[in-house]
């Protein structure tokens, strides 16, 4: 008899999708910091969203209760995820939809590609979706000869610019309107050469292009913000109405959803539909909230497929500290308040999930070794935890993941030596006296050696004092 060992759940596979960067965070950040235009665009955009969001959150007298409720619902969902997903599958199937289970990015891409092929279409329209970016669906479709057209305005800017998104909610946040005009002139079919950089003119150009695409494409691919287990209802929350076009006009709708997006009941949406718009776009109510349950004869898509995506999520769920990252509702409040994100932008994180949540989610989905520099991409200032509408303790998670990350050998040795010294007061006092030797050894004009040279590149170091506190105290 053979036995299969069911060990730790698998992490997201390599070589597919967008969860791993090509360089470490410090190296990528260094490049981003040199881009003055990027710094300016990001500083302006994040400050604007922060102010807007802060104002509407201040209006809600029960904001803290809402946050607590959101966190509690997510904790409950994660505690009985298998049961809820099976309930969701049963309800979606009963309502005329087809449910597919995808263990990872490769399987999800294969399922969606086969479904699109079966329709005979060589083009799909897409609702803005993080899950499909995570798995690299557009690239997989492209390899199969299928064109995916992004219909969210900012995603369209990114796609036409042959660029990568740099923010969860505002993927083209790193671009200003002059740059967007240039991208449209260069890459948008049949664009008016007299296009100006007025926001209304840019939106009108995109609308003309997208309307044509909506009316001629029979297949749409979306993600999902929520799925209600008790009824099998899917929900997409967006601001432009382009998502609703995709969700209602085509004959076939394929939705790719991370397994953690399920909620037990309709009533739970009440909490999240209050939290999400205020935390993300700074609106009191979300402009376009589309919900659908299976298929409805004569109304909307007549074929509906739901792809439930794991891609490392079960591995995250297995870590009892780390699993709170799965609470995330992709609002991006943590990005907007993060002093690191504000200066380096999203590309430096190397993943579709940038900012503080990316720094804790990406390494867990891929395994920490594949994203070892991300848990360190934070000063642990804690602004993200305060801003999170579902109370993910991101600083705690960062520290937790740092403990799991592979450490440089020299650093490990230094840390072990420091811990030993600090646990022996006599050695500790000797080390303090040695610090003072640098008054003579490391005089002016000399920097610290690597890896500490990063400090002295931009800052002076104080002269060690003539006597330590404990020496002064001993003489009193």
């Amino acid at each position: 008899m053979t036995r299969t060992f069911l060990g730790m759940p698998a992490t997201a596979p390599q070589g597919v999708g967008q969860l791993r960067g090509e360089q470490s965070f410090p190296a990528a950040a260094r490049q981003a910091l040199a881009d003055a235009q990027l710094r300016r665009n990001l500083g302006h955009a994040t400050a604007t969203i922060r102010a807007k969001s802060g104002a509407v959150i201040a209006e809600a007298p029960d904001w803290e209760e809402l946050r607590a409720a959101g966190a509690a619902i997510k904790t409950d969902v994660l505690a009985r995820l298998p049961e809820l997903l099976e309930q969701l599958e049963a309800r979606v199937t009963a309502a005329g939809g087809v449910v597919h289970w995808a263990a990872d990015a490769n399987e999800a891409n294969r399922i969606v590609t086969d479904l699109v092929r079966a329709t005979g279409s060589d083009r799909v329209i897409k609702v803005k979706s993080m899950a499909t970016q995570e798995i690299g669906l557009n690239e997989a479709l492209d390899a199969a000869g299928i064109i995916a057209v992004e219909t969210d305005l900012a995603e369209l800017i990114v796609q036409l610019g042959d660029d990568r998104p740099s923010h969860i909610l505002v993927p083209a946040i790193h671009r200003n309107r002059a740059e967007i005009r240039e991208i449209f002139l260069r890459a948008m079919p049949d664009v008016d050469p007299a296009l100006t950089d007025e926001p209304a003119a840019l939106a009108a150009a995109a609308r003309r292009f997208l309307r044509q695409t909506f009316l001629t494409t029979p297949v749409a691919v979306s993600g999902a913000n929520f799925a209600v287990a008790e009824t099998g209802t899917l929900a997409v929350v967006e601001s432009e109405g382009n998502g609703r076009m995709c969700l209602t006009l085509p004959e076939t709708l394929i939705t790719v959803m991370g397994v953690e997006k399920v909620v037990p009941t309709w009533r739970d949406l009440e909490v999240f539909l209050q939290l999400l718009p205020r935390a993300s776009t700074g609106e009191r109510m979300n402009p376009y909230t589309s919900m659908w349950t299976g298929v409805t004869p004569g109304d909307g898509p007549q074929a509906f497929h739901l792809v439930l995506l794991d891609n490392g999520r079960s591995a995250v769920l297995a870590d009892e500290v780390g699993r709170q990252a799965l609470h995330c509702i992709r609002c991006s409040a943590c990005l907007n308040v993060c002093p690191v994100y504000e200066r380096v932008g999203g590309h430096a994180y190397g993943s579709v999930y940038p900012g503080p949540i990316g720094a804790v989610l990406s390494p867990q989905l891929t395994g920490v070794a594949d994203n070892a520099s991300l848990p360190y991409a934070s000063s642990l200032c804690g602004a993200c935890y305060d801003a999170c509408p579902v109370k993910i303790n991101i600083p705690e998670l960062l520290v937790h993941l740092r403990d799991q990350a592979p450490h440089p050998r020299a650093e490990s040795a230094a840390m072990a030596a420091a811990a030993y010294t600090m646990d022996h007061p006599a050695l500790y006092a000797a080390a303090q006296r040695a610090t003072r030797l640098s008054r003579w050894a490391g005089r002016r004009g000399r920097g610290l050696p690597p890896p500490l040279s990063g400090w002295t590149a931009g800052r002076d170091l104080p002269e060690p004092p003539a006597e330590t506190f404990r020496e002064w105290w001993a003489k009193r």
Binding site: G447, G458, R470
Partner: protein
Amino acid sequence: MRIALFVTCLADTMFPEAAKATVRLLERLGHEVVFPEGQTCCGQMHVNTGYQAQAMPLVRRHVRTFDPYDVIVAPSGSCVGSVRHQHALVARRGGDERLASRAESVAGRTYELSELLVDVLGVTDVGAYFPHRVTYHPTCHSLRMLRVGDRPLRLLREVRGLDLVQLPAAEQCCGFGGTFAVKNADTSTAMLADKMRHVLATGADVCAAGDVSCLMHIGGGLSRLRTGVRTVHLAEILAATEAGGGPERRDELVVRT
């Protein structure tokens, strides 16, 4: 009141003036300060850099050293934050439940300086005199881990001669973050550049804060640029009186390029 001083390793080694000022201030207010000799470091650097197991003996040492005292004070929001939010966690993950509950007990008796003054000793006017234009940087861990709120500002507003000017974007991190400043030196410096721009915009002579670590960072940048603005710990301002006892003048910072 008998108060045990948790000096913090950085203040002890590099910035003793902040610790001495804490002693002078509390004694002037009529309290007895004791310094438990066995203390070294709370282990925050190890925990935050990803070495929780190595932090265990330091947590054990800290708890053993301070357990006998009813009231403990540190001139640092960050180190008090570590004691309150990390020690029990580290002990628990290390499988020592007894240490964890002792750590929680010690944490409940440990205060950051402004918390001790305002909440425990019930004083905001400490009789200080500091005739300078001062701006205050509310360090992240004081602000968000300890929620000290406006306690430091209430103390500073009562200081005679002091002209308190508000720091723009005060709640943004200065970019220190412990080993973050070394591992992500470029990003840290970019954050520091904005913090310095805001400090300079106030026209203050002095940038004050409740943590010598953040002050070392901000001060290191201000010194490098020869801005003529100095950094001073909150305790030094509160310890200063018309009879003297103001911040000790240190040699200018060592210039290392």
